[in-house]
């Protein structure tokens, strides 16, 4: 689960990581009182989860209340990565001497969390030159290791002391809140020499949410994705018109590739999960029915633990309720003959292979 900048900064505040004074605003009245609190000049920032906010014009430095109002109403109308800002963060402007990068993230290859630090900020971490990396032991970072990162980043005196404190606090945050990523980009040294986190990017491990109820209260990024996870399947909204449904993440991923290769554009990725019961199949199809722009549905099932008869019964039931988009299905594996006979006489079109089902579904476009 990805947090908004202001939610990440709430965590920074909780763990003692210095941030500029800031207020979250939704209305013009709130904007005025926020400006009184943080002072001018200020920075107005769109709160979105998508990247590329700066390039999309989602950040503005303002010197007066008028400028702030204009910037706020302009930013509210933006779409950044398809996303409209849910709120704005109004923050005291910080005079910057230097921008740096600091993050703690999972390195899957070495099966360890790793610190990444660099004396450049605000740029993409992948294209970053001269970055320092340091693995984090599973039971926490030792101060000498934090000092070694500071040393390798060539930070001395007051800079080193502040950096080590921030790194230790960020690691504690990352560990205790069970983040997959805790990033400060940029971490700035301001004009008066204080180090301060100007942005936050925090991703919480979804699988650890049962230990962190405060995050599970937050609304899901996509209401349909929230609905799907409640019903026990995974759903990702995409921008095409052909819904892709199957059992097993790898199988559905592979079906998306088949669709793309045939020239189609998927409307969603929907993995029913292993051992899907009829009710789950029904819930999944009813969700697809609600999906705007979806003209057809491709169902790809390989029955193993999943009983193909359960899938067929679910399909039959939802199609019988009416209003369902045309379904192109490949159902093979355990009990497939019974599954086929269950679907005989329904409008569900059956194909012997995934490739043939894909071809038929795409060519109807």
């Amino acid at each position: 689960m990805r947090l908004f900048e202001y939610q990440g900064k709430d965590l920074f505040r909780k763990y003692g990581i210095p941030i500029p004074e800031s207020v979250v605003v939704r209305t013009d009245a709130e904007l005025d009182s926020a400006l009184q609190k943080v002072g001018l000049p200020a920075v107005v920032k769109a709160q979105v989860l998508a990247g590329g906010r700066g390039k999309a014009g989602g950040v503005a430095v303002v010197k007066s209340r008028d400028e702030a109002r204009k910037a706020a109403s302009r930013i509210r109308q933006l779409r950044i990565g398809g996303e409209r800002p849910s709120s704005l963060l109004v923050e005291r402007a910080t005079p910057i001497r230097e921008e740096m990068y600091l993050s703690i993230t999972l390195d899957r290859g070495t099966r360890s969390f790793v610190i990444i630090g660099a004396r450049v900020g605000g740029v993409d971490v992948e294209s970053m030159q001269g970055k320092i990396m340091e693995p984090v032991p599973v039971d926490g970072l030792k101060e000498w290791a934090a000092k070694s990162v500071a040393f390798r980043m060539n930070l001395w005196g007051q800079d080193e002391a502040q950096f080590v404190r921030i790194l230790m606090d960020l690691e504690r945050l990352c560990r205790e809140e069970e983040c997959e990523l805790a990033e400060i980009n940029p971490l700035a040294i301001s004009g008066d020499g204080t180090m301060v986190a100007l942005d936050s990017k925090i991703v919480i491990d979804d699988n650890a949410l049962f230990r962190h109820h405060e995050f599970s209260q937050l609304p899901p990024e996509d209401p349909l994705e929230g609905e799907a996870s409640k019903d026990g399947f995974s759903f990702v909204r995409l921008d095409g018109d052909l819904a892709v449904v199957g059992n097993g993440a790898g199988l559905v991923l592979s079906t998306l590739d088949l669709v793309a290769d045939a020239g189609g554009v998927p409307a969603c990725f929907l993995d029913l999960g292993g051992g899907s019961q009829q009710e789950r199949v029904e819930a999944a199809l009813r969700l697809v029915k609600k999906l705007p722009n979806t003209k057809r549905v491709l169902v790809n099932i390989f029955g193993g633990i999943t009983r193909t008869t359960d899938v067929a019964a679910g399909l039959k039931k939802v199609v019988g309720e009416g209003g369902m988009q045309p379904i192109y299905a490949r159902i093979s594996g355990a009990e497939e003959a019974q599954a086929r006979s269950l679907l005989a006489g329904t409008p569900v079109k059956l194909y012997p292979t995934a490739a043939e089902a894909v071809k038929a579904a795409v060519s109807k476009a």
């Binding site: 560990r175 290769d261 594996g333």
Partner: protein, 291 residues
């Protein structure tokens, strides 16, 4: 990586649950020696004739088992796995889905210090048809004894590809799912290490997907260790969007990290024959192994 011999006793942790009892039954049916079950508070019960114990240590003392398969839900998973390792279990097959990353890291660390193997979590398990050994939820009907080793990050894709291999005359020496999470107890490389000196394995199939760098690491391993057996691969997710978890917690592209293109290029660079569809795998095997 250590895998059990034919007839080796196996413990099922979480055997009294719906999923645990269903699959304990299917494993027995396949011919696997499910020797004991463990569910705290259910000692003395029998599930399909299999005696249930409160503790792994009790089950180990009675059966001498050194392998355990875990079906307990994610919140109690780490405690169950730690209990197994501390009771002397040397192979943990972790079927449990949705395990937190930090629990996985702790388990990997503990297994290393105890000299044990972990497969998964979020794995369908493994099957060795010639040993009548099925440790997991893989559907037995897709698999036949044979000479191909099949290793996969995805469950259903493994079943589908095994089925295609079987119907085209390529049985399997072993088929094993490493799990769909960002952290795997055993990696694709560990699996390749297990087969590299096994006479009975004539070809290896790796099924990858977007996210992480397991395939890139495998490619490097094949080159660095001069892996001699023919290797075939399929990588799912060429059409997947970035920054989205595609069903598996581990199937996510960050920036340019973890794309299918990078994995396919790395594997091809290591001399691996890469199929563009699951159905392409048996075709590639047929055309290269006949020569």
């Amino acid at each position: 990586m250590m895998l059990p011999e034919r007839g080796a006793p196996i413990i099922v942790q979480g055997i009294t649950g719906h999923y645990g009892s269903l699959h304990a039954g299917l494993m027995l049916q396949y011919g696997t020696n499910v020797a004991a079950g463990v569910t705290p508070g259910k000692a003395g019960e029998r599930i399909m004739g299999v005696r249930v114990y409160d503790k792994v240590a009790d089950a180990v003392a009675k059966t001498g088992a050194t392998s355990s398969i875990i079906f307990v839900p994610a919140p109690s998973f780490y405690a169950a796995a730690e209990e197994a390792l501390r009771a002397g279990i040397k192979l943990v097959v972790a079927i449990t889905e949705h395990v937190p990353i930090r629990d996985e890291l702790k388990l990997v660390e503990l297994a290393k210090t105890m000299g044990a193997t972990v497969i998964g979590p979020n794995t369908p398990g493994l099957i060795i048809p010639s040993r009548l050994l099925k440790l997991g939820i893989v559907p037995a009907t897709s698999f036949r004894p044979g000479n191909v080793a099949l290793f996969s990050r995805s469950g259903t894709l493994m079943y589908e590809i095994a089925n295609l291999l079987s119907t085209n005359g390529f049985g399997q020496a072993v088929a094993l799912g490493i799990g769909g999470d960002p952290i795997n107890g055993s990696t694709l490389t560990d699996c390749f290490d297990w087969v590299r000196n096994r006479e009975e394995v004539k070809a290896v199939v790796a099924v990858g997907e977007i996210g992480g760098d397991a395939e890139e690491r495998l490619a490097k391993y094949i080159i660095d260790t001069k892996f001699a057996k023919p290797v075939f691969a399929y990588v799912a997710g060429r059409a997947a969007p970035k920054e989205k978890k595609m069903g598996h917690a581990g199937a996510i592209i960050y920036g340019n990290l973890g794309t299918a293109e990078s994995k396919i290029a790395a594997l091809q660079g290591a001399g691996v024959k890469v199929a563009m569809t699951p159905a392409g795998i048996p075709e590639l095997l047929a055309s290269s192994l006949k020569k």
